[in-house]
């Protein structure tokens, strides 16, 4: 079983829809939860991060963490064609020789059509 599970999609939605992206994880030691966005043929870029449980909002994006259920979500409101990308969840907090391991989900491909 992978430490982080993420539905690969693809997810296709019309412009203006609310998008929900999710990841589950198995390691209760994870403390930092991140979402990276990756456009085609580009490297991932950090979109949002959350420490421990709770919600964080940034414009049209909201990140939620439920540590009791080991479940994180990213919501995109009023989705735009420019949001079409692969979204990777990532988690850290497990040390290994002093290094804070960052574990990525496989990524969910999102397509927002006009």
């Amino acid at each position: 079983q992978k430490e982080v599970e993420q539905d690969p999609g693809p997810l296709s939605v019309p412009e203006g829809a609310i998008v929900s992206l999710n990841c589950t994880y198995s390691n209760s030691a994870f403390q930092y939860f991140m979402w990276y966005r990756q456009y085609s043929r580009k490297g991932p870029e950090l979109l949002m991060y959350t420490y421990s449980s709770g919600n964080k909002e940034d414009g049209r994006f909201t990140a939620q963490v439920d540590k009791s259920s080991k479940y994180i979500s990213l919501f995109i409101r009023d989705s735009q064609p420019s949001d079409s990308a692969t979204y990777l969840c990532a988690m850290s907090g497990v040390t290994s020789g002093g290094y804070n391991k960052l574990i990525f989900g496989a990524g969910t491909r999102l397509a927002v059509h006009p």
């Binding site: 982080v4 993420q6 690969p8 403390q31 930092y32 939860f33 991140m34 043929r41 580009k42 490297g43 991932p44 870029e45 950090l46 991060y49 959350t50 420490y51 990777l88 850290s92 907090g93 020789g97 002093g98 290094y99 804070n100 391991k101 960052l102 990525f104 989900g105 496989a106 990524g107």
Partner: protein
């Protein structure tokens, strides 16, 4: 403002050939990383470095070697390429451990095919 630069962007190799992937960052980051990205597998850590002159193994280190002779550069070597090493390789860097408030910054990848 280049950030993380990877060269080359594309490469095709024959089985058994060797090559070196180059990564350079201009953000004065201490930590640097090499990942590979395969369909359905996400990003998997190959090797990483916590500072100039240091390297350590990640999740999938077999068949790869690395060197960090200068703080700004991190090299990934394939000594004898195998078809299983066909992948997209990403280099990343961060100030410290890459936790939530110290994000990893990625290059745009090197697409490597081994025939």
């Amino acid at each position: 403002n280049a950030g993380v630069t990877q060269t080359p962007k594309f490469r095709v190799l024959k089985t058994g050939q060797s090559m070196t992937l180059l990564c350079a960052q201009d953000m004065n980051h201490e930590y640097m990383y090499w990942y590979r990205q395969d369909p359905g597998m996400g990003l998997r850590l190959i090797h990483y470095s916590v500072g100039e002159g240091t390297t350590a193994k990640g999740e999938v280190p077999d068949g790869y070697n690395v060197s960090r002779l200068k703080k700004q550069n991190f090299l990934l070597g394939l000594e004898s390429a195998a078809p299983s090493q066909t992948s997209v390789y990403f280099c990343a860097s961060s100030y410290l451990t890459g936790g939530g408030n110290q994000p990893q910054h990625f290059g745009d990848g090197t697409r490597l095919s081994i025939l």
